[in-house]
């Protein structure tokens, strides 16, 4: 590995602060953002935008855990720590669960994207072709290391805001009374909605893996808080504008309520906003898939204990992913199974984080013993 590759390898993994925020923002704001209102509206009706804010507790809690771990061992991520503290076998098992989760999220994102694309515009393409194209591209991106994916997610950050801004024009059309009466669904409604909203903030767990790779180590707190704030802002705005424009009854019925809002905003130049929306949205989805893909590669590398290079791992796992994605219907046929998996995964994450935070603060690595 001559000098150039060494430097490449070296700064491949330390990200600038803005890239880091983009990555954290990128994992949280993904395919489910345009349909965040679906789950929450059952509980919190027209106050769903408050419960999306309440939902932000989950990422903040995960962030606190990471800060505790980061204080103790800034060098290694959670995968190596697992192995170090809980021994090879137990640590490996915990990492395996993480790996399986990333695999499942990849499949969920891929599948929802395929549904959307086939219904909206590319009706003639078969699911296989779409899956193949999507995963091949993100495999290529992920295989070139975290830095490339970080740059892509930076661009995607600006694109996301490009999509959100036109909905401000919808403020002019409708009336403020669709939101009234506020707090009507009471404290319990909002909290249930908040728990339901945890699902939207899934993706924060990537900071467990990539926290060692930030260049200015001292900026860690500021950068992650920025990302969380941005995500909450986006989620609250989408919730607010959907209720403001459509009213809570219509949201109950439609899957992608935010699309209804953006579609009604006709800009004088382009009479149909949908075409641009699909184009820009695909870019954002590809970004989140390649993010999860690189997280998956981290776990795989740890699982196969550093035998293979990233490039090989990426293209080995590609056909498996495409196959699983097509068979997605029969692996997770009903909605309930998916919900169950996501909820159980939330609990697992909280458990893993707290466990690691406690063990790191109590046990000093020196007298770590093999068990």
């Amino acid at each position: 590995m001559n000098n150039r590759e060494k430097i490449l390898k070296e700064n491949d993994y330390n990200l600038t602060s803005s890239q880091y925020t983009a990555v954290v923002f990128g994992t949280m704001v993904g395919v489910s953002t345009i349909s965040i209102t679906k789950g929450i509206v059952r509980y919190a009706h027209q106050d769903l935008w408050i419960s999306t804010a309440v939902g932000a507790i989950f990422p903040i809690y995960i962030f606190i855990l990471t800060m505790v771990i980061f204080k103790k061992s800034p060098g290694e991520n959670i995968l190596t720590l697992n192995r170090k503290y809980f021994g090879k076998f137990a640590g490996g098992l915990l990492n395996l669960i993480l790996l399986v989760y990333f695999l499942i999220t990849l499949l969920i994102i891929g599948n929802t994207y395929i549904d959307m694309i086939t219904t909206f515009s590319a009706g003639f393409l078969s699911p296989f072709k779409v899956a193949l194209a999507v995963f091949a591209v993100s495999a290529y991106a992920a295989s070139n290391g975290l830095r490339v994916v970080a740059k892509v997610s930076q661009i995607a950050l600006y694109l996301t805001f490009l999509l959100i801004l036109p909905s401000i024009m919808a403020l002019k059309e409708a009336k403020i009374i669709n939101i009234y009466p506020v707090f009507e669904s009471g404290f319990s409604g909002i909290v249930n909605g908040g728990i339901e909203a945890f699902k939207q903030y899934l993706g924060i767990e990537i900071i467990f893996i990539i926290y060692p790779y930030l260049k200015q180590k001292d900026k860690m707190a500021k950068v992650t808080v920025n990302a969380i704030l941005l995500t909450t802002l986006v989620h609250v705005w989408i919730g607010f504008i959907s209720v403001y424009y459509l009213g809570s009854d219509v949201i109950l019925k439609s899957d992608w309520s935010f699309l209804l809002v953006t579609e009604s905003v006709t800009i004088s130049l382009i009479n149909n906003f949908r075409y641009i929306f699909i184009l820009v949205w695909s870019l954002i989805i590809l970004k989140s898939i390649s993010l999860y893909y690189s997280a998956l590669l981290f776990c795989l590398k740890d699982f196969t204990s550093n035998k293979f290079q990233y490039k090989i791992l990426a293209f080995v796992v590609l056909p498996l992913l495409v196959l699983l994605c097509i068979e997605f219907e029969n692996i997770f046929p009903t909605e309930e199974i998916l919900n169950f998996i996501t909820i159980s995964y939330e609990i697992y994450l909280i458990f893993l984080g707290t466990l690691m935070a406690i063990t790191v603060s109590i046990k000093s690595p020196k007298e770590q013993r093999k068990n």
Partner: protein, 368 residues
Amino acid sequence: MKRYLIIITILLTYMFYLYGNTRVPIEEVDIIVGFGYDVMDKSNGQIQYSVPFNSYIFKPNEEKLSVTKTGRGKNLTEAEQDRDSKVERKYISGLEMVYVISEKYAKMGIKDLIDERFRNTEANDMAYVVVCKGNSEDIFSFQELGYISTSDYIYGLMKNIDGYNFFSQNYKLIDVFVRMDSKGRQVLLPYIEISKNGLNLTGLALFNKDKMVKKIDIKEARILNLLREDNVKGVLSIRKDNKKYIDFYAKSKNRKVKCYKENGKYKFDINLTLTGEIISNTLYEDILSSKDVKEKFEKDMKQQVENMCNEFINKMQYQYKIDCLELGRYGAAEFGRLKNVDWNEIVSNSEIKVNVKVMVESEGRGDY
């Protein structure tokens, strides 16, 4: 390693191309500009759905033509399949301008129609929805001078509807989605019919939930619109006798509705502000120079508009028994949306007070 990669990519691209695609470029396709929904009761008492559509056909010598094709069937989906089978060329839906629903269909309820449109992502939410007298097929076959297809004519009619008669622009498909099932809101669509001097707008079709309940004629529709919509424009006039009258082109600002409960009885206050200019005046002498003549006119106009509104409200509360002014929406916002309460009934026996403020902006260039 490099060589394997290249071979794989070539293989993939070839497979991609192999499947080919069946998309047809735009010229050989007709564009649908209008959908119609009719209902006819057949001889044996059953109901037959007929769904015509009006589309452009592009001829090579650039002469655009419009043609109407209909499909019939026992229910909506069957009728639509029958219609698709009759079409020999590929057609694009998604650019339609107008949905014409016949009165009979509307009276039976448009739930299934709206549901189909809501689910189908290719539906154009910004197309106008209109209720017509008789069958929409006759509407489509009506030939208007200078217009290729009737849908163009209706689209033009609807686009300029907000110039007068206090109509607004909330008669699009997305407005129907939003209004049909929301708490305390009613769907209200323009009513068109073919009269002796051509196709024109003769009133409003009032819906309760998804069924059309009443056709309101144009004179009453003006008052209803004035009370219900915001930022609408229309002409109000005071007429003493054939020669002495004054016309006031009024623009209404956002109406303010306050809803409160007094000793168990619901009360609604509607505040309207009308600003505008005088377009013809032979009633008031030199309204131009003296301020008190202008104030006198403003007082008279306020009185007249309030009388008209109260008259309509009584009719609404006792005859129609439907909250067609969307007061239920403000009630729901005030007293909570979750309790399933029938706002029509509440509004029908609540006490509604209308308060109008008239301001004359400018008198054009002078007063003859």
